[in-house]
Symmetry: D2
Subunit: 136 residues, 4 copies
C-alpha cells in the first residue's frame, strides 16, 4: 500500500460566505495529496507529464461529514490500496482537521492518456514498476 | 420533475496545463446549475439563506467522459427527479458541449442546516411547498 | 476606442467568509471582459493562441470601492482607449453592480509572446490591422 | 519593518493552458503571505476577525516579470515597511522561484472595517500596538 500525509492550510479565498471551505476546493486538496503520494514512487507527476503521459481524472466522489474553516490546518491522507493494473489508478482520501476529526472521505480515479494521441493508454512499464516495492 | 438548463463558458483561468477545464471547476458549474434550477421555485438560493437556511453539500460525485476546453460554451442540465423528503436534496447533472457531446454526469446532494444552530434541520414548510407544483 | 460590456453573476464559490466576492476573483472577471472585447475584432482570443501568439499579463492593478455580493449581476465594462503600438495592450475596466454603483476600476496590460520561442514579440500584422477600424 | 517569507508550491489546478500559474492566483498567494506576516504580531488574521475587524483589500497591483510553472516552489516575501497610521495597511511583495529568480512584485493595501457597521474604521489600539516592536 502507498499512504502519504500532506498538510494544507485553508486560505481565505477558499472559504465561502457560509464560512466553510468551499465544497469545490477539495478537488485541489486531493490533487495536492496524490502529487505528494506519487513523489514516494521516486518521481513527480510533473516528470510523468514530461515523459509523455497525462493523468486526467475519470471519476471523483467525496462525502462531507464536517466543514473545514478558514486557517484550519488540514491533513490529507492519500491511499493507493491496490497495485494499479490496466489504465486506472484509484486514490482514496481521508481529510482531518487539527483536532483529528474526520471531515471528508473521497476517491479520485485517474487514467493514463498518451500526451500526443490524446487517447487513453496502458500505464508504461517504468511507471508500473515504480509501484512494485509498495505492494510486496 | 424540475429540469433546468444553464449556459456556462469556460474561462481561461479555469483551464489547466493539460488544456482541459480543470476537473475541480465542475463543482462551481454544478452549483451555478442548481442555483438556476432553484429560481424556478420562485425564490433564489440567496433568499433561502436570508430566511435562515444554509444548504451545504453532503455528497458529490462526478464521472468524466470527455474534457471541456477553453472558450467552450457548456450546457449544464440540472435535474431534481424526486420531491425532496427529509433533509436531503439530490440534484443530478449532465454537462454537454456545444456539439451536444455529453462531457460528464454527476450528483450533488445538499442538506438543510439551520443558520443559527449550525445543525441539520428538516426543510421548512415554505420551502417544501415550493416543490409541490413540479411533482403533480 | 473599443468598448464592450459583459454581464457576470457572482458564484457562491467566489464569495469569501466576509460575504464579499473574493478580491482575487476580479482577475477572472476582467479576463472574461477582455475576451468579449476582443471578439469585436472579428476573432477570439482562442484563435489568437491557435495562430501562435500567447498574451500573458504583464501588469495588473485594481482599485476596490465597494464589494460585490453573492448572486449580484455585475457589468464589466472593458475599454481599449488607444490603438496598441509596440508589444503592449492595456485594457481598462469598470465594474458595476445592478444598481449602477461603480464597484472597482482596473487596468490589465497584456504582452504578445511567441508561442514557440516563449519570448515577447511585436503584434503580428493581422492582429494589429484588426484594431484599425476602431480608431479612425 | 516586518518581513516574512512563505513557501507555496504551485498546484496543478492553478496552472492555465499556457502552462503558467494563472495570473489571478497571486492574489491568493499574496494573501497567504500577509497572513503569515501578521502571525509575527502575535495573533492571526482569524483572531482579528473574531475581535470584530474585517480587513478587505482596497488596492492591489502586481507586476509580472516571469511566469511560475506547475510544481514550482515559490517564496513569497511580504514586507510592511512603515508602521500603519490611519486606516490603511500597505503590504509589499516579492515572489521568487526556487532558482532565486524574481517572478513578480506587488502591493496590496488593506483597510480596517468594523464587522458590525460594515464601515471603515481606525485600527483598534490593541492592533496598532502590536506593530510597535517592529518599528523601533
Amino acid at each position: 500500500m502507498i499512504r502519504s500525509e500532506t498538510k494544507i492550510r485553508v486560505r481565505y479565498g477558499e472559504t465561502d460566505q457560509m464560512g466553510y471551505a468551499y465544497y469545490g476546493i477539495y478537488a485541489q486538496y486531493y490533487e495536492v495529496g496524490r502529487v505528494e503520494a506519487m513523489r514516494l514512487l521516486g518521481f513527480s507527476y510533473k516528470e510523468v507529464e514530461d515523459r509523455g503521459i497525462f493523468m486526467p481524472v475519470i471519476d471523483y466522489s467525496i462525502h462531507y461529514k464536517k466543514p473545514a474553516y478558514y486557517d484550519d490546518e488540514l491533513t490529507i491522507v492519500t491511499f493507493l490500496k491496490q497495485i494499479p493494473t490496466g489504465m486506472r489508478i484509484p486514490f482514496e482520501y481521508e481529510c482531518y482537521n487539527s483536532m483529528g476529526e474526520l471531515l471528508n472521505t473521497g476517491i479520485v480515479t485517474l487514467v493514463c492518456v498518451d500526451k500526443i494521441s490524446g487517447k487513453p493508454c496502458p500505464m508504461p512499464t517504468w511507471f508500473r514498476e515504480a509501484f512494485t516495492p509498495f505492494f510486496p
